[in-house]
């Protein structure tokens, strides 16, 4: 059975040596509920970063 979520990658091309997201990872990237959680997490991370950066 073909796995449609990963397109053909030419063997031994530069692209062949890296990681490719699978179907579940791709789903999570646009799953609104999960992304709301990530949105909160990213904002917390960026706020912490800003607080650590001002001197």
């Amino acid at each position: 059975m073909a796995h449609q979520h990963v397109q053909h990658i030419e063997p031994y091309s530069p692209q062949f040596g890296t990681m490719i997201p699978g179907g579940f990872q791709k789903f999570l990237r646009t799953c609104v509920l999960w992304q709301i959680i990530r949105f909160i997490a990213i904002n917390i991370k960026m706020t912490m970063l800003i607080l650590k950066s001002h001197h």
Binding site: I20, R38, S53, H54
Partner: protein, 488 residues
């Protein structure tokens, strides 16, 4: 009453001016000198460059904002600095040449008590034959460095899409136009937006998309790469970036010094010393940056430009400029107060300060051509530097002997959101944070950075963050109610 003159009104200069005017009030004078009449939220130029935003959405006129803030706005370019004054006067001054306000071409001497150099860069298109002349972009490629450039890029992109609709295959080349460029992140974001646009227009299968970069590996970003936690591993940005390109079927050319641009073709020298060519139908190549060409003179009128500025035209500050090999570089080489060592009332912020050295490992081809990214210092770091410098000057005006605030890139982090489209429910952006920007292998012996403060992920949420940043920072830059609550 003291007078603070700020040269430049980009992220660093505008931030410094806004806070200085707020803190110093009417007791002191804040003057901004900038050749531009408009402020530009540059990160959103990417969306203008693919036709997803208009120029008006990313720019606004500076004059009414500065009038409201009580800032003396001069639409002029700074020409020279005279830090010792002139014969008969000890008062330091700069010379300016007006570009607007019905005084175009007129020159003036502007005295100062404190001076901030936040001119940003000269877009040095002329460094690569065919890429442009001086700071003017050429006719073979496009750019997203300014809002006008981005509008032009979107029209060119639309024309290529029309050709593809008619069955004509097109090659898109995006990246760096010289071996010493910075701002790979802008090219990184633009290529993903082009790819997304072509998909939306239903012509992706008619396009070959190629990234060309002076980085020795994808994900170097001029910071020597970074590492973050992902899937239970500490992963390199190389893997993260390669994955994004591979997933989208985008090819890449690494370690390339583009040395010639012609109609439909670039010639480049690679890190292995070989020369090659790449044809294109559409190319967006970032130019290298240089200082804006300010001159400096002492009291007797002798040229002291070399004393104030590094050879690349950026201003010397409290960095350790001693030449040393990569293995001996330290986080402490980087400037903290951004104060000029010779003239204590002069500071530089943002791109205008001279870095002590690269962040990425220096590399050159066997022919001796340096091919390596130069340090990024745009956006968030620029704003933090602008605010810190303004705070130090405020305190020095009020009696402090030395700068009271620091903004070392070795002690601050940066956040970067690279969109891939503009939709709230489609497209996926990459959100990255890095802390600190300059790797500190003494403090963080593993990867040089705080693994808990350095992150990267892909998803819709990053798109939402990008939208919020666009509106929040334009709100802040317009000095609308609550602007000080929006952090830099």
């Amino acid at each position: 009453m003291a007078r603070l003159v700020i040269m430049g009104a980009g992220v660093a200069g505008h931030t410094a001016a806004s806070f200085a005017a707020k803190w110093l009030g009417k007791d002191h004078e804040v003057v901004v000198v900038t050749p531009n009449s408009q402020w530009n939220w540059i990160p959103s130029n990417i969306w203008v460059g693919v036709g997803e935003m208009t120029k008006d959405e990313v720019t606004f006129p500076l004059a009414p904002v500065y009038k409201k803030a009580g800032i003396d706005y001069r639409q002029a370019k700074a020409v020279s600095i005279h830090p010792e004054g002139k014969e008969g006067s000890e008062t330091p001054y700069i010379t300016i040449e007006y570009t607007g306000q019905d005084k175009a071409g007129q020159t003036e001497e502007l005295t100062y008590d404190y001076l901030i150099n936040a001119t940003g860069p000269k877009l040095n298109f002329g460094a690569t034959p065919g890429l442009g002349e001086g700071s003017e972009m050429g006719e073979h490629t496009v750019s997203v460095c300014t809002a006008d450039h981005a509008v032009h890029a979107s029209h060119e992109l639309e024309a290529r899409i029309e050709k593809m609709r008619k069955g004509e295959r097109q090659t898109f080349l995006v990246g760096t136009g010289h071996g010493m460029c910075t701002c790979q992140g802008a090219a990184f974001e633009y290529i993903f937006n082009i790819e997304h646009k072509l998909k939306e227009e239903g012509v992706r299968d008619m396009a070959d998309i190629i990234f060309i970069t002076n980085e020795s590996f994808l994900g170097d970003f001029g910071m020597g790469g970074l590492h973050f936690k992902a899937g239970g591993y500490v992963t390199s940005s190389k893997v993260f970036a390669e994955s994004l390109y591979a997933e989208r079927g985008i090819d890449w050319i690494l370690g390339a010094h583009v040395n010639k641009v012609e109609e439909g073709k670039v010639t480049y020298e690679a890190l292995d010393g070989e020369f090659d060519e790449q044809e294109f139908d559409f190319a967006m190549l970032i130019p290298p940056f240089a200082g804006v060409g300010l001159k400096a003179y002492d009291k007797a009128g002798e040229n002291i430009t070399d004393k104030l500025f590094a050879p690349n035209g950026f201003m010397k500050v409290d960095a350790d400029y001693t030449p040393k090999p990569y293995e001996e570089w330290k986080a402490s080489d980087w400037p903290r107060t951004l104060q000029n060592p010779d003239y204590k009332n002069i500071f530089a912020a943002g791109i205008a300060f001279a870095p002590p050295h690269l962040i990425s490992k220096p590399m050159q081809s066997p022919n001796g051509t340096p091919i390596n990214p130069t340090p990024p210092r745009t956006g968030m770091p620029s704003a933090m530097m602008g605010k810190a410098v303004a705070a130090s000057i405020r305190d020095m005006i009020n009696g402090a002997a030395e700068p009271t605030h620091t903004a070392s890139m070795a002690e601050m982090g940066a956040a970067c959101v690279a969109s891939a489209g503009k939709g709230l429910l489609n497209g996926t952006a990459a959100a990255m944070t890095v802390f600190p920007i300059i790797p500190d292998f003494e403090k963080y012996p593993g990867t040089g950075r705080d693994i808990n403060g350095t992150t990267g992920e892909v998803g819709l949420a990053a798109h939402w963050v990008k939208h919020i940043l666009h509106h929040a920072f334009i709100w802040k830059a317009k000095l609308k109610p609550g602007w000080t609550l929006i952090p830099e």
